[in-house]
Amino acid sequence: MDGLKERIRKAVHNQPQPTVTILSSLLAVEDELGYIPPEAVDEVAGFNRATINDVWAVVSFYPNFRTTPPGQHRVEVCWGPSCHLVGAMPVIAAVLEAVGLPAEGDTPDGRLSLRYNTCLGACAQAPVMSIDHHLIGRITPEQARNRLADYGAGPATE
């Protein structure tokens, strides 16, 4: 537990940019941990001379912040307009089937977290998905399935 607090403290206190805000502090924590635990709300509030509720208002406002630990690997599928036009939905359907989830979320075994993304910034290579922030362009449903198999996705067999 103290390790977690220490990581939060470092992330919040070692922000390199000149302007530090509640939002930047939260992003630093999210980058470090992948989510915002209650301890981080405390730390960010203290660091920015705000209250925990001020910080919570920011955390809960942005859907990109999560408040529970993510899975080991983070899968994002873009369904922005560009990707949508060239076939994002079949990719999403394939991914959902491969990870065994009805919609975006975390697999029960904690291996994968799936999110839809509205733009991964690589429209020229649409459709795009990313695994642990590595972009994969011009992906087909078949490729998506294969890729995810490498990360242990599939119907829970064990």
């Binding site: 209650p38 709300v41 405390d42 509030a45 203290g46 705000a50 209250t51 925990i52 509720n53 001020d54 910080v55 919570w56 208002a57 809960s60 406002f61 408040t67």
Partner: protein
Amino acid sequence: MPDDITIAIDGVEIKTQPGKMVLDAAVDAGIYIPYLCYHPGMKPFAACRMCVVSVEGGRGYPAACTLPVQDGMRIRSEAQDVNELRRSVMQMLIAEHPNGCLTCHRIDICGPSDVCLRHVSVNDRCVTCPKNERCEFKDTVRYLGMELESPLNYTYKQIPLEVADPFYDRDYNLCIACGRCVRACEEIRGDNAICFTERSGKALVGTSFGSSLLESGCEFCGACIDVCPVGALVERSHKWEKPRTVERTVCPHCPVGCQLNLELNGGGELIRVVPEYNSPANRGQACFKGKFGLEFVNSRERLQQPLIRRDGVLVETSWDEALDYVAGRLADYRGDSFALLASPNGTNEEHYLAQKFSRVAMDSNNVDLTSNLQPELTTALEQTLGHGAATNPLWQLEQAGCILVFNSNLTEDNNVAGVPIKRAVQNGAELVVIDPREVELTRYAHCWLRPAPGTELLLLGGILREVLDQGLENSQWVEAHCEDPATLRYYLRILDLDEIAGITGVSRDGMAEAARRFGGADNAALCYALDNIPPDLARDCVSALVDLALLTGNVGKPGAGIYPMRQGANEQGAWDVGCWANRLPGRGARRNESARRELEELLNCPLPTNPGLGVAATLEAAGTGRVKAMLLVGDSPNLGNGRLGDGLAALQNLDFLVVMDTFLSAPARLAEVVLPRATFAEKDGTYTNLERRVQRIRPVFRPRRGEAQPEQWVFGQLARRLDAPGFEHPSAAAVMDEIAQVVPAYAGLSYARLEAESALVLRSGGLESPKPTQMLYTGREHRGLQWPVAGESGAGTPVLYLDGFPSGKADLIAPQFRAPQDILEAEYPAWFVPGRVLLQRDREMQVEIEADSNLNRIVRDELVELNPADAAAWSVAEGDAVEVQTRQGRLAGLARLDAAIPPGTVAATILFGQLVVDLQNSPEPDPMSRTPGLDILPARVVKRDA
């Protein structure tokens, strides 16, 4: 006042000032423009778009709450196109709120079990909402004429109800996200205990991670409830009851003097308390005590008949018999063997009669208040400046550039006084707190000095010296207004700052910073109490504080000044009218022969000459048998909490004890005769609050059962039986007339004069227009009068000493700066320093819901903070289970070693939520009047067995 400008709203011309918003101007002028997110006293928010108007010659439909007034502006509000727009905005709002009833034409005649042709489910009906009949939202919907053929599509949000926190019920299914509660908590109270959560369609109000209010920093003041326009936030108690009558009076719990509207049901029971917006002392605010701590007036445990002891048992009797018996017995104890202890929540009139009864009828100067543990609080203030009272109005604290709070736990003792302080800090003022304890305000402090207990006087010396050294003395003003500054300067110059730093444990930098902040501000205010100051240093501490205010030139100007934080609701009044040890009414500090003669002439009767005893001395004398008979009015926590030694044992030693009380309290159980005492809500009179404001309290109802009587009647009856003259006042007003004759500060005061100080408040749009809860009952604004009052028609005096001091110059007293030598005994070798804060970020805790009561309970290990050196000496290691033992009690916790804790000190900071939970669950009828304080006590630390 800046130049008036004129604007017209729907052709009605009104005068207003530049800088105001159109909606403010309209509210001031009594013109109603519909609004929901706007609330008087808060910054405009422009979220609900209900106040849209159009400006002739302007574009579009701006919101009136953010539209600055301009000369000659012509506003259209009740125009068809504007109302059409409002109705379409309202459609969006009511789509998020159960609306089947809101838009139904039958709403006014519908009952809870009526057959509903609209098929509105029972849960969604207005008649099943706790806010029905006092719902601002409903009124606004009706005002706009939103009768719809069929209800709009609405889906119940299925948000679980929050019903486990003390005092509040929260149902966010009804929330329209107007944000008033969030802004009240942030802007007005400075607490930020709630926030907006999520966004767009899911946006609502909540707390961090959806925690309970106990964990989110809530002070349970109820400000959010009072601004909520829907049924989302309500008081749990009497939640479903509707008020039949409402009366305004003043809170009896503390000397801030909050005006409260008491809502009564058809049976005459108090069901709710709504703080009054148009009230100068509280401006619509209350605290946990005032908002949730007045229901004791309904209690079934109230005494109904006088009780008299027969064969060792208290049995009911009639007033006549009781009074005859008391008078007969008291006649034997005339003189110094009699003492009267009055309650701090008696009225001015009762205090005056109490001291008169003791002095005239009983020939004894032994009269005091049970709350008067620190009589030094204002004696030095009076001696130096001329009046023993706060120099400035409470809300001028908002204008101070720097505020120093000295040994005062405002949050619990004078809660609403903390509101202007926190607001000032939000607006850029600096806050310096001197207190060994961690209290709510230390969170806001720019500089928090934590002297070792008992060394506060030395610390003040150090700060004063720094004021001199840094050239922060306002020497020109001091030379002109103060007597003998040279002596004080001399005594300050010989102080050794390094030595002071060593003894107090406060660094030289800390002292320098406090001096710089306080002395450097254009106007600085000083609030002080004497919590935990050793009695023999108390007077000098106050002198040092007054010196600090004088040296920096902060007396006799607005936005500055010095505020003694008294404890009881009407302690100021008791001080003024002489219900105080060794103070004759209106004679101030003069205790000499001539003062007594003057008074004898005024009252036309002889007065006792022996010096009187204060409350502490009285109890001591009762213990030794020197005082044999006592009339005790009201229970006091001080009799049982050890602050006055064993007060109850002393009472037991009396020959004859009469207790006037509302309940059969611990002292009443010891009495020979118990007289049922009327509460604040059942009597006529005045309270003087800590800013010298004399305000009327009114009989809200008759005691519902039984024959409780106010003190005025009892003193009159007893005096008649004792053949004492001068108690034939037909009414409280007549007593006030006598006070005005006897007490110079009250000269010119009368009930008629107070009534003339009230004014009709313009009610926007007449009686029917929707209004926020806090303004629901505003018919008249009662401003009261701040003494001294200049003549029969003159105004009161908000700021004292604007034209100099009564004695010409203020008498700078040079105290002997010192700290007590080792007063700790070997048995209890350390100081236990308790603290209480709203929020602790760094502690593990859980909130559970208790199975039998369904209420929240805090589960956590308290931390006992120790200096590592002490811990080593007591062989305590980090994380050990320890117990702090004092003579008054014990506290279990886990040890935490912290080098920042001064050696010889053991600190434990508790959560305010724990106090509120304890008060909510207390079996006592009036727990709020006994809110435990934070006493610093000698203690020892022992390890608990695992």
